[in-house]
Every structure is written in C-alpha cells, then in structure tokens.
C-alpha cells in the first residue's frame, strides 16, 4: 500500500499550499489530484487577491482591520469575525511570500505590487497580475512543490475516505490513465478539492468542479456548513458564462441597461458597479426581469471608455475571451453579460486550522467553510482564503501527525473500503436501468439554477427538492456505464453525479429552512435579514433520508450587525 504522512487531495492553490506547509513542517506529504495541478480551477481566477498592503494611491490608511470589517459587512455579518481577522492579518505576509516565490505581479511606478479597487472594499486592496492572477499564483505554487520534491499523483480521483474508529486513515482513489483503484494510507488527509459549480447550469466554473471532495466528506459523516449560500458572479459572458473579472469594473468599467443607464445608481449609489457581488447580481437580474435588459437576457459591461491601452495592459485575457468566444472586441463594443453561478460560500465544516469534526481530516479553500465569507464573499478574498487556510491546514496536519505511529495490521479496513468502492463501480456497469446520466445531470443543473438561484421562494425551492429526490430515484436506475477502466469518463461522471445530487439536496434543504434574506440567499417570501433567529450557521448532516440540519452560532467579536448600505 502507498503511504504518506499527509495526503493532500486536490491540485489547486489550497491543497498545494497545504502540501508545502506539511512538507516544511517535516512531513512526507503527497498530492493526489484529479488533473495535473496547473490545470486546476484556481488558475481561472482573474482579478486578484486581497491584502491591505496600502500600495495604491489613496490607500495609505488601509489596514488588515479595515479589510476585516469590509469582509464581515460583505458577508452580511454571517462570517465568523475571529476567523476573518486571522485571514486579513495574515494576508500581507502571504502576499509577500508569494512574491518572493516568484509570482509576476503587475507593478506600481515605484516597483511595488500593484493593487486595484474591487467590490465592497474601502480601498484599492486587490493585488493583481493583469487579469491572470490565479494562473500565475497557481503556476508559482506548483513550482514551489517541484522545488521541494513533493510527490504529486496526477489524475488520481479520490472516491472515498477510509475511516476507522472515527479517525480518518486514508483514501481510495481511481487512477484514470491506468484504470487502477487503490488505497492510500495517511496519518492526515487534507482536502483542497474545490467547489461544486457544475451542480448549477450557467456556472463560470471549470467543467471538472463537481464538488466531489465535499460529497466524499459528507458521505463519510462530516457535516457541510452554510451550503445555501451560493455566489452568483455579476459578469459572465452570455451563453458560455465565461468569467469577466470584477477587475473590469475595478478598472472603471460600467454596467449599462438597454436605456443606456448606469443602473447601479438605483441600487448602490455610493459604490455603484463596485458594490458586493450579491447586490450587483440581483440588480442585473432585476433589470433583465423588468425589461431593461437586452433581448436574450443580458446587460452590457462597457469598457470602451477605458481605452485601448488600459484594456491591453490590465485586462488582456478577458479581451481574448471576448474575441474567442463572442467574436467581439471590448475595445470597440460593450460585452453582453449576465450573472453566473460562481462560488460556494458553504463547504466542509472546519475551524481556522482546517480541522473538521472527523479527526485526521482537514479542509481548506472553496471546499471548506471556516467561515470567512459568511453569506457573501467579497471578490479577491477566495484566492486569499486558499493560501492562508491551505498553509494553516498544512501546518496543523504537521502538528497532528507528529508522534502518531503507523497503526499496524490495519490493512483490512483499507481492503474493505476498496472492495466497497469496486463493488459500487461494478454495480454502475451492471445496472439494468435505462436512465441516462447526462440527462439527470442536465435536469439537475437547470433546476438548481432556476429554483435555487439568485432569487428564491418557498414553492420553487420545494419543487426543486422534489425534483432532486426524483433524480436520486432515477439515478438508481441508470443505464449500465462503460466497463472499460482506462480513462473512463462515463464511469467518473456517473460516480460524481451521485455526489452532485446529494450536494444539491443539502443546498436546497438549507435554503428552504433559512427563513430570511441574507447575502446571496435572497428570498421573495422573507425579504428581511432576521438577526434574532438566523445569526447562525447551518450544518447539514448526511443521513439515509437526506440531510439533517442543525445550527451553530456565529462568532462576533468587534462588529455588531448593521444595515448593509453601499
């Protein structure tokens, strides 16, 4: 059996940073990733990463505390304030470390790291490298794993945790290129497996973001926290929903309706286009719904006034995306945009050190919920979260592992889980049903987007919950999937689909139960935020009958809830 002190699952920023921290903490750490690490979704992040460096003109008074306040207010006061302060106070240090490791940040005239304004932020605080910040961070992080000789297992998909006597002892994974299924033993497992964007239609996310890590943890009995909070990014290209960075508005881009109005003046007169994402997405949706959008359901993101030079220098990649996928040049034409599913505020329940309720399992990044984003994440805080909490999870794993001996003669438990997985896979290829997995997947995605989307209401959500249950039933009658083992996408996608259905159920159940509007969770039947009853985190526990919900309090330290005005 393959064994490592720490197994880090996922190839994005959070997991690579965790692997580096675990390695530097003296562990033999290895990375298991569904793709080559540089292919991960972190690389699709464009606009930047927040830290109160005060490098930009007019940002001299910025501080980690102000960054924390903006984050808490942006979260609609659902974030745990102690965790937010951990993140914002570590931010400058991790940015400088990434710079020392070689990230090619854009520069100010003085040669410092360049920073731009982003939504909901009091100062230009978002450090950027043109509009390719995530990609450069990811490539640099990967370079640092190579430097340390950290073992990477590419194209290994984790299908199950191995848990014995309430302790996580490893994983079972599928190696796509060889078709092999294998158990891996570890003293600690860190999940940095990303979000579930593919549960929704119209997602900006990478096509591989099925949320499989979240569902694997959920099925192993680890609760998922605040799953009802789903972020919709205001600006994604109509149709393909390819992301148009918030940096486009940070650099001065306008949102314009079919009357030529900058309609944000009616929703957030002070911050205008740079209000937080939940508010801007709602505003765009209202404009479209009330007939002030364009035929086909979109509004314009207009960059023309920024001029050719600024667009080429600061936003070259979104320009390329427009050229490739729309056949238009934003230097000369406005960009047709609509909100798209973008990010999961919710995730695997964990603390500021990544520890989940399951000893030996840690989590960081989008798959985790600390919570630092509460009900709505600010742009530029997710890249920050991956690195801060990836590092902390890796360090905690190193502490946890030290002094723990390998448990002898424990192979039976690994063989048992391996056999379970193989029999589930076998069952998928021997099914006698006729249900088409791609049809179930598509119906799920459309249902979630229409019924558990930007605006929510009891009846549509109840219909969604019934629909998910129907789809779960149909999933049990799948047509047989292909028997081949090597790079079997049919098998992988069928396996993932089960997890996607269960995540959708947890999202919808949490949303139905939360009878208020807060951040991204905006209910037409409960329009007000209700601090009396709902200043609490939702926990969804997996049971045979679907999710069981429980709640825990939000940590408030410095900032009492106030009305969110921008």
């Amino acid at each position: 059996m393959i064994q490592h002190d720490a197994l880090v699952v996922g190839g994005g920023l959070a997991s690579l940073r965790a692997a580096i921290a675990a390695h530097d903490g003296g562990l033999d750490a290895a990375v298991l990733s569904q793709v080559y690490p540089i292919r991960s979704h972190s690389g699709a992040a464009q606009g930047g990463i927040n830290a109160a460096l005060a490098n930009a003109e007019g940002a001299e008074d910025d501080s980690p505390e102000k960054h924390a306040y903006d984050t808490v207010k942006g979260s609609d006061f659902l974030a745990d304030q102690d965790a937010v302060e951990v993140m914002t106070s570590m931010a400058p240090g991790i940015i400088f470390e990434m710079e020392h490791w070689g990230v090619p940040f854009s520069r100010t005239p003085a040669g410092k790291i360049a920073q731009r304004p982003f939504g909901g932020a009091g100062f230009p605080r978002t450090c950027y490298a043109a509009d390719k910040t995530g990609r450069f961070l990811l490539h640099t992080m990967y370079e640092q794993t190579l430097k340390r000789g950290i073992k990477v297992y590419p194209e290994w998909v984790v299908l199950s945790l191995v848990v014995e006597s309430g302790v996580c002892r490893g994983v079972v994974a599928y190696h796509m290129p060889s078709g092999e299924f294998r158990a891996f033993a570890a003293k600690a497992v860190v999940f940095g497996t990303g979000g579930y964007g593919q549960v929704y239609a119209h997602s900006t996310n990478t096509l591989i973001n099925s949320g499989s890590g979240m569902s694997v943890a959920y099925h192993a009995g680890v609760p998922l926290k605040d799953m009802e909070f789903v972020q919709f990014h205001p600006t994604s290209i109509i149709g393909t929903n390819i992301l148009m960075t918030e940096g486009a508005r940070g650099e001065g881009g306008y949102l314009v309706n079919n009357r030529g109005e900058r309609f944000m003046k009616n929703y957030a007169p002070k911050l205008m286009e740079l209000a937080p994402r939940d508010m801007v997405s709602r505003a765009i949706q209202i404009e479209i719904d009330e007939g002030r959008g364009f035929q086909g359901g979109y509004v314009h993101l207009d960059l023309r006034h920024l001029g050719r030079q600024k667009i080429l220098e600061r936003l070259p990649e979104i320009r390329d995306h427009c050229l490739h996928f729309l056949g238009l040049d934003p230097i000369h034409s406005p960009i047709p945009i609509q909100p798209g599913q973008h990010y999961s505020m919710g995730g695997i329940d964990c603390n500021v050190d990544g520890e989940t309720p399951l000893p030996g399992l840690l989590a960081a990044g989008e798959c985790a919920c600390v919570s630092v984003h509460g009900a709505n994440r600010l742009g530029g805080n997710s890249l920050l979260e991956t690195i801060v909490f990836g590092k902390r999870a890796g360090e905690k794993a190193a502490q946890y592992v030290k002094g723990r001996e390998w448990k002898d003669a424990g192979d039976a438990v690994f063989d048992g889980v391996l056999k379970q997985v193989e029999s589930r896979v076998g069952a998928l290829s021997q099914g006698s049903g006729r249900e088409e997995p791609s049809a179930i997947r598509q119906e799920l995605k459309e249902t979630m987007f229409s019924n558990v989307g930007i605006f929510r209401d009891r009846l549509p959500m109840e219909m969604a919950l019934n629909k998910v249950k129907e789809l779960q039933g149909r999933y049990r009658r799948l047509r047989p999937v292909g028997k081949g083992r090597v790079f079997n996408l049919d098998l992988l996608r069928a396996y993932e689909l089960r997890g996607m259905l269960d995540l959708a159920e947890a999202i919808t159940a949490g949303a139905l139960a939360r009878k208020e509007s807060r951040g991204s969770h905006s209910r037409l039947d409960f329009k007000q935020r209700d601090d009396q009853s709902w200043m609490k985190h939702t926990l969804a526990h997996c049971t045979a009958d679907g999710p069981r919900l429980s709640y825990k309090d939000v940590t408030i330290t410095k900032w009492q809830p106030e009305e969110r005005k921008y």
Partner: protein
C-alpha cells in the same frame, strides 16, 4: 458537422482507428463542446481531457484538422469544410483516444530548476521590480504548459531527450526575471547536449502555441546568453592559462 475522432482503447485495440459522429453545430460551438456532445449523447466511451473550457488550463491541446489547437478555444466556424478531424497530440504515447501521456514533458520541466532562486535574503516586503522589468517576462509567463509546441517541434521527433520549446520557455521565464539570482546555473542546465542548441528555429512551436508565446525569441535569447557564458569561460581560461 461531422466529427472524425481518433479512437484507441488499450484494453481492446491493437491499433487506432477513426470513428465518425454527426454533431449538430450551433452558433458559437467549440470543438470541445462537440466532443462533450459526443460523450453525453452519442458515445460515452470516448476519452479526452478538459477542464476550464476557456483556454487557460492547458488540458485540451489536440491535433485538429492538422493544426495544434486547444479544443475549447477552437470555434467550429473557424474550421473549413464540414468535417472536423480530431486527433491526439502527435509524438506523445497514447493512453486512450485523445488522451496522451505527458509524463516525459513534466519530467523535463522539472529539469530546468523551474522555480525562482535567490541567494540574497528576501526583504520584509516585496522585492521591487520596475514596470519595464516586469514587461520583459510578460509574454513568456503566458505559457500554460499545454504541450502543443512540444508535440509540434521537429527537433523533438528525432531526439526525445531534447528539452523542447515549452521547457526552454519555462527556464527563460526565470532567466529573464529581474528577481532571479541563479541565471548562470540555469543557463548551464539548458545549454547541454539536449538543450538550446538542438533547436533549429523551424518555428513550428510558434505556430502551434495557443497563447501566442514566441518560443523562438526566448530560445534565441537563451542561445545568446549561453554563448556569452561559454565565451567568458574560455576567456577566463585563456587569461589564467
């Protein structure tokens, strides 16, 4: 649109063949979307790599109608004729269908010290870099390691050990970075017998690159610096001899 797709299943086939699939084209459809349509609606046994679907992750480099392309970035309407011929990247071992084995490529990346190396202690804050210094690496950092140029390079066809254009670009990315302090060491790594001198400036790599990185400019700069390094070495030897 008729998709003609290379198929090879190591569990069943001795050699590859092509299968045809009718794909209903629609406005704005990409080759990747066509392949996903085949997977979902026509043939679930098809294998290919994909992730970001927007040209930034480098997963879906393929040989499409005789050109090196990212499937996700290739619009059907850009292609001439009613047939799309989709093949795996040439000159890599085939795992299954359109999926090739990139292990040797990533091993080569690891050979050129692909990370920034500094001798001096880092400052408390960021290392300063002027806008002009940053501009020097602006193009080469766009490489997404998709493997297209490694596949297209004729020097690699005859010498499998040649580092190849993408790997040399990776090395150059650090050599040209004002913050790196290991330029001489790295130059020695790329100027050995499997390094820069194997490049004969055929420019296939430049044409293959989906991110418009000009690898030959980077390799040319490496050659000049390697030459200077050699000359200095001989100068020192002559002077001390």
């Amino acid at each position: 649109m008729n998709f003609v797709v290379f198929r090879f299943d190591p569990e069943r086939d001795r050699e590859g063949h092509f299968d045809s699939y009718p794909v209903p084209a629609r406005e704005g459809m990409t080759v990747l979307e066509g392949l996903l349509y085949i997977l979902d609606d026509l043939d679930p046994t098809l294998s290919f790599r994909f992730a970001c679907r927007e040209g930034v992750c480098g997963s879906c480099a393929m040989f499409i109608n005789g050109s090196y392309r990212l499937a996700c970035q290739t619009q059907l309407k850009e292609l001439r004729g009613a047939t799309v011929r989709v093949e795996p990247l040439p000159n890599f071992p085939i795992i299954k269908d359109l999926v090739v084995d990139l292990t040797s490529f990533f091993e080569k990346v690891d050979k050129v010290m692909p990370y920034i190396k500094t001798a001096s202690a880092p400052p408390e804050k960021e290392r300063l870099q002027t806008v002009a210094q940053r501009q020097r690496i602006n193009e080469v950092i766009d490489c997404i390691l998709c493997g297209a140029c490694q596949s297209a390079c004729p020097a690699m066809w005859t010498n499998k050990e040649f580092l190849g254009p993408a790997v040399l670009v990776k090395a150059y990315r650090f050599i040209a970075d004002s913050r790196d302090e290991a330029q001489q060491e790295r130059l020695r790594l790329v100027s050995g017998e499997d390094g820069v001198w194997r490049c004969h400036s055929v420019f296939n790599c430049v044409e293959a690159c989906p991110k418009k990185v000009n690898q030959t400019v980077a390799i040319g700069a490496l050659k000049r610096r390697a030459l200077v390094q050699k000359l200095k070495f001989w100068q020192r030897r002559t002077l001390s001899g």
